[in-house]
Symmetry: C2
Subunit: 259 residues, 2 copies
C-alpha cells in the first residue's frame, strides 16, 4: 500500500480548489463527501474521477471501494477536502451530472420539479431528495439558483443528486416554455394561487414551478404557468417553507398520477 498523501500534496491541493464555485464550474467537477454520496457517485457510469480515502476508511468501505480509483490520504488531507465537521474518511472527485434542459424534457417526463432562484443549498438539496422520493423524472435548477454542486446541496440530497436527471437553466421562462411545448402542464406553487392544491387535476404530466425562499415567484414568471396553485393554509401560518411546500405538491402529484 502506498504512503497516504498529505495536505500539502499537489493533487490534494487541486481537489481542494473544488470548494470554490468558480473552479467547479470551470472544471465541471465537484466533491462528493462521505460513503453515501460516494456510493451514489460510483453508481453513475463515468462520474467518478478519483476517490480520496484514509487507510481506515478504505478498510471500512472495502466493498464499496473495491473497483474505485482510490488515492490514499492522511486524516488531515481528507479533512481539508471535506466540509463536514466529522469527515467520514472518503471524498470523491466527480464529473458534473447536469444534462441540457432539452434532453431532460425530451424524455417525456410525467413529473418535473423546476426551482427558480432557490438560494439556500439545503433547500435545493432537499427538493432534489424529495423529487427523487416522489418519483419525479427530473429536477431543473433555473435562474439564479444555488450551485447544485455546492457541498451543502450535495449533502442535503443524501445521494439523490446521483439518482435522477438534473438540468441547470439560467432562464426560468425557457424552462417553463420548454415543458409546455412538450405537453406538460406547468403549475406555479404560489401561496396566493387561485387553485387549491387538493382541487387541482394533477393526473396528467406536470411540471411544478417553485420560487425563491423569501420572495416566491416573480410575477412575470408565475404568469407563464398554466395555473397558480396554493397549498391551503388552515391555521394561522402565513406560508410553508420552500422544501416542505415542494414535498406536499410533489406527493400530491405522485398520488394523483399513480392511482
Amino acid at each position: 500500500m502506498s504512503t497516504p498523501l498529505t495536505v500539502g500534496n499537489g493533487r490534494v491541493k487541486e481537489a481542494r480548489k473544488l470548494s470554490r464555485r468558480s473552479v467547479r464550474t470551470e472544471r465541471r467537477l465537484f466533491l462528493a463527501d462521505g460513503p453515501k454520496a460516494v456510493e451514489g457517485a460510483l453508481s453513475v457510469a463515468g462520474c467518478v474521477v478519483e476517490v480520496f480515502a484514509t487507510p481506515l476508511a478504505l478498510e471500512q468501505h472495502a466493498e464499496l471501494l473495491a473497483e474505485a480509483p482510490v488515492t490514499l490520504v492522511d486524516d488531515r488531507a481528507l479533512a481539508s477536502l471535506s466540509d463536514s465537521v466529522s469527515p467520514a474518511g472518503v471524498v470523491a472527485v466527480c464529473r458534473h451530472l447536469d444534462a441540457p434542459l432539452e434532453h431532460v424534457v425530451r424524455a417525456s417526463p410525467r413529473l418535473l420539479a423546476v426551482c427558480a432562484d432557490v438560494r439556500d443549498p439545503g433547500n435545493a438539496g432537499t427538493v432534489i431528495r424529495t423529487a427523487d422520493a416522489a418519483g419525479a423524472d427530473a429536477v431543473v435548477l433555473a435562474g439564479q439558483s444555488v450551485d447544485a454542486y455546492n457541498p451543502k446541496t450535495v449533502r442535503a440530497t443524501v445521494g439523490s443528486l446521483f439518482h435522477l436527471p438534473l438540468a441547470i437553466e439560467p432562464d426560468p421562462a425557457a424552462a417553463v416554455r420548454e415543458a409546455q411545448a412538450r405537453g406538460l402542464t406547468v403549475l406555479a406553487a404560489d401561496g396566493a394561487g387561485e387553485v387549491d392544491l387538493f382541487d387541482a387535476d394533477l393526473s396528467g404530466p406536470t411540471a411544478w414551478l417553485f420560487g425563491n425562499e423569501a420572495w416566491g415567484l416573480p410575477e412575470d414568471l408565475a404568469a407563464l404557468a398554466d395555473h397558480r396553485v396554493a397549498i391551503p393554509i388552515h391555521g394561522r401560518a402565513e406560508s410553508l417553507n420552500l422544501s416542505t411546500a415542494a414535498a406536499v405538491c410533489l406527493y400530491a402529484s405522485a398520488r394523483a398520477q399513480r392511482r
Copy 2:
C-alpha cells in the same frame, strides 16, 4: 425619549443570559427575535415581559410596538440579544408558552403532531410551522427533543410558535398513551411501516408520531402506535427528511379530515 441602554447595562445582560437553555428553563423565559416573532408574541396575552428595540426599529414598527413595554437599546446591545447575522432591531423577552400534555389532549384535538427526540432546531421549528399551516390543534415535543425556545427553533417557526398550543413531554410513551386514551389514533411515521400513507384512513382524530432525524422512532415507541405508516418512495431515495415527511403526513390528514 430615554437614552438607549448599552451592551453593559444590567437588564441587557440579564436578557442575554436567555441564550442559554439552562437559564431559559429555570426562568421560563425566552427571546423572540425580529418583528414577525415579536408580533406573534404580542398576540398572546401575557406572553411578553419586555421588548428591546433600537430607536430606529421603534420608529419602523411604531404601530406594532404602540402598546408594548418597550426598552430602548443601542445597536450593539440589540445585536447582543439577537442570534441573527443581521438583527432586525427588535427582540422580546417572552414567557414560556407550553401547556401540560393533559391540557393539550383534553381539548379534543383532531390533529396532533408529536415529535420524539427531534434534535435539529430548524426541523423542530419547521414542524411547528407546518402543523400550524395544516391546521393541527397542537404540537408535542417529546423525549429528548431540542428546546422549543432555542432561538433557531423560534426563528424556524416564523411566528407559529405563538399560534398553536405546545406541550413538552419528556416521556414520549406517555404522549402516545394520553392521545390514545382521548380517542386519537396514533400513527407512527415510519419508512418501514406496513400501511401506505395514501391507503390509510385518516379521516378520524389522529396523532402523528415523528422520530429522530437520523435514527427514526425507537422500536418500543413505534410499537405503541396504532399503525405504522410509510410515505411511499417511488424513486431511489432511501427516505425523506423529517420536516418534509411531517409535511406530507400532516397535509394528508388535513385533506382527509376536511373533505
